[in-house]
């Protein structure tokens, strides 16, 4: 039995490793084609990762990616494609910023309250797609894409100066949040790590616990693995779709908080956008597994934060867009390699089970055909 366990780990790791190797190789081909060194950019970026300030940037960025990718993964686990994480987290961050500016509770209440506001906003926005799907059969893909666009407009409207907006120079902000809602960071040599990174880790643990150790998680995974089998086993598909969307949205809502509560303390035009789309690739690469997603989020953040230095490299500069090319190639390679590895793994296991049983049968057969004696006796 242990053997199959080890095999599962092997299969789980094989997919991403193959994808990464292929992506790196293809990126090198691109570099070669443009007449540059196919190796040096990697060593330059790796060198960047040794600097403590870059490490802090990577960690902070990864924390946000992680939360957003968890949100996507919850949907993926039951075959729901929540493309709306982007709108959900931006809207949630904006609403949280406004609430945090106009309401002041003591810190131990303010921060949980702000988190709750963010989660409820995210859940509300995702829930619209969930309700449309369960009552009207609208594909969640279409609905969430639309909701992203609507979120952008809603944010633009709410941040108008006559509503909650506060202009600061060329920027339009929501005002500075009350200090009691600032999430304390962790001071290290290279700067300050967002304290919210700890929340992200906790979210990952909770994700694992709920999916793997609870009835709800089992129902959710069963629905993702086979909708028909889940229905026959008593899962209420509609309620499940709605729950998954709500939870996914609630986690999305948290994704913008690390930077909001830890750094900017306001929602402005320069608030990071597009996190929700990047998170789809990260969830894919991480195989919807909480540990896998953590590695994927770190890798993505590394490519983001180590690549700008390429532009200023001496003696020869490289385009930092190499990292973007690589991210794109990783996503494509991941999709192909996972499917291949999955099929290969299934075939391999089928064959091995067959072989083991055949071997057992032969061993039995020499013993005067025990099974068949048993079968007759059982009558």
């Amino acid at each position: 039995m242990k053997k199959f366990d080890r095999e599962r780990v092997l299969l789980a790791v094989a997919g991403p490793v193959i994808a990464l190797v292929v992506a790196v190789a293809l990126t090198s081909v691109v570099l070669l084609a443009s007449g540059k060194s196919p190796i040096e950019p990697y060593s330059l970026m790796l060198e960047q990762a040794t600097f403590s300030d870059i490490q802090v940037l990577i960690l902070n960025q990864a924390g946000m990616y992680y939360l957003a990718a968890l949100a996507v993964a919850i949907g993926f686990r039951m075959n729901l494609f929540n493309i709306g994480v982007d709108g959900q987290y931006r809207l949630a961050a904006m609403v949280t910023a406004v609430v945090g500016t106009h309401l002041a509770l003591p810190s131990f209440l303010q921060i949980p309250m702000l988190m709750l506001v963010a989660m409820l906003t995210g859940a509300f926005w995702a829930g619209i797609a969930g309700i449309l799907k369960t009552t009207r059969g609208v594909s969640e893909v279409v609905a969430t894409i639309m909701l992203n666009a609507i979120a952008t407009s809603v944010i633009a409207y709410l941040t108008l100066t006559e509503n909650f907006g506060v202009p600061v120079g060329n920027n339009q902000t929501t005002g500075v949040m009350e200090k009691s809602g600032w999430f304390p960071g962790i001071e290290v040599a290279g700067g300050e790590i967002y304290g919210f990174v700890v929340i992200a880790v906790l979210a990952g643990v909770l994700y694992w616990l709920i999916l793997n150790r609870t009835r709800f998680g089992f129902d959710l995974r069963a629905t993702g693995a086979s909708e028909s089998a889940a229905a026959a086993s008593g899962v209420n598909a509609k309620r499940m779709v709605l729950s998954a969307m709500l939870i996914s949205g609630a986690v999305s809502g948290l994704a913008g908080l690390p930077i909001l509560l830890g750094d900017t303390h306001t929602y402005s035009l320069s608030f990071p956008a597009g996190l929700g789309f990047t998170a789809i690739g990260i969830a894919l690469l991480g195989r919807n597994n909480p540990v896998g997603i953590a590695f994927a989020a770190l890798l993505w953040a590394f490519l983001d934060k180590a690549s700008p230095a390429l532009d200023y490299a001496q003696p020869e500069a490289y385009d930092k867009e190499i990292a973007v090319i690589m991210q794109g190639l990783i996503v494509i390679a991941v999709v192909v390699s996972y499917e291949e590895v999955r099929r290969w793994g299934l075939r391999r296991q089928q064959r091995r089970v067959g072989e083991e049983l055949a071997a057992a049968a032969r061993a039995n057969g020499n013993n005067g055909n025990n099974d068949s004696v048993k079968e007759v006796a059982a009558r």
């Binding site: 039995m1 199959f4 366990d5 599962r8 150790r213 609870t214 009835r215 709800f216 998680g217 089992f218 129902d219 995974r221 069963a222 693995a225 086979s226 028909s228 089998a229 229905a231 026959a232 086993s233 008593g234 899962v235 209420n236 999955r342 299934l346 296991q349 089928q350 064959r351 091995r352 089970v353 067959g354 072989e355 083991e356 049983l357 055949a358 057992a360 049968a361 055909n369 099974d371 068949s372 004696v373 048993k374 079968e375 007759v376 059982a378 009558r379």
Partner: protein
Amino acid sequence: MANHDIRLAVRKGTVHALVGENGAGKSTLMKILYGMQKPDEGTITVDGEQVAFGSPADAIARGIGMVHQHFMLADQLTVLENIVLGSEKLHGIGGAARRAILDLSDRYGLGVRPDAYIEDLGVADRQRVEILKVLYRGATTLILDEPTAVLVPQEVDALFDNLRELKSEGLSVIFISHKLGEVLSVADDITVIRRGTTVGTAVPAETTPRQLAELMVGSELPTPETAESTVTDRPMVQVENLKLLAEGDSGRALLDDISFTIHEGEVLGIAGVEGNGQTELIDALIGLKHADSGAIRMAGEDITAHPTRKRREDGIGYIPEDRHRHGLLLESPLWENRILGHVTERPNAGGKVGFWLDLKSAQADTRRIVEEYDVRTPGIDVTAASLSGGNQQKLIVGREMSHKPRFLIAAHPTRGVDVGAQAQIWDQIREARREGLAVLLISADLDELIGLSDTLRVIYRGQFVADADPATITPEELGSAMTGAASGHLEHVESGDGSEEDDIR
């Protein structure tokens, strides 16, 4: 499922039967012959020439075609369109193709109508379309995978006439089947496979079904006969005037005015050609579809409005007709499959209320099921997909029986299961029945149906059209009611008795 030392020689112009328990390796062998899988060693020779198939396209090019057990036809297209689909280069898609199809249809007596829509055709007609599809692509060797599983006896005879026609024209047919009587009546040669290897060949004229079965399993063939009646007068399941309409505008009744009672200790068998409302009946009973009118009562309680989970918690066991779609999570380990359908019950979870799963007990109980129900597997961590069909079925039966159901819905409980496991599953149903289990049995295997049931009903176009006493009825008589030819109470009549019409109305 590994094949080894397989020897199979098919002569031109013959029907060659391939028999063996499921998991014996028939499917793997067929996949290799049809180019879907590559052999690790050994050779395949066609017309004296050694060949290597990389894909089904290679096999087709060599004149080997396959008719799958599950038809691969597009319902919304016509027969002509289905046949030319993917082979447009042969005769185009117009008049030439139509002529070619009609020509083939006439030559082999298939009686195919090119412009009929597949959705309007019955199972037997669809099968003929599948056969024609293969012939159209120039096949000279046809592989038929359990072609009779979905047919009633009369249709089986028609199919066999077609096969004889094919072989008289010099074509070869490889015929895979469990049903030994059929094999003996149609085959010219028989090859038996057991545990991945060919264990013998038989000449039909000199072999009895029993000898063949012994060759197949290395033991005697069990019979599905229930010894003594255990039927009580305590009703367990009462269904009254159940009606289920098709979704959409047509509003056609899929189930119409279905009423029956199953008592504790009673097995109610439902005979019928597939697609006459059996699936809908199961769905309505398990709660996947809700009745448009009528009532379902279990042990006196009205459960018509209960959701599936509540029904299962209350003691409805379910052996689904399509285990891959409704009974298993194929890519999950066995122990997760043991939880499926009973996620809120012990030993998988603490009790009716609660949040957590109890993985340790679930895994321990999976080991017990594997042991007690003789599921052949190296462990409980392998995926369900890596087990053979029969072993998957044993796992499902073990799982359902472990929860001590009061009412068991058993759809084709032994389909694709080897003879040894079949006996075991029958035993389990009989034993539970003795303890007061009510069973609704749906099966395409008429011997099984007659052998296990206490009461028999025939379903035709969503209605119960006939009932019969399993003690006296024969498969042929049941078969004629299944096609809608007879209704009312079916009484067995000795041939030449003269009073046949009296009781059939």
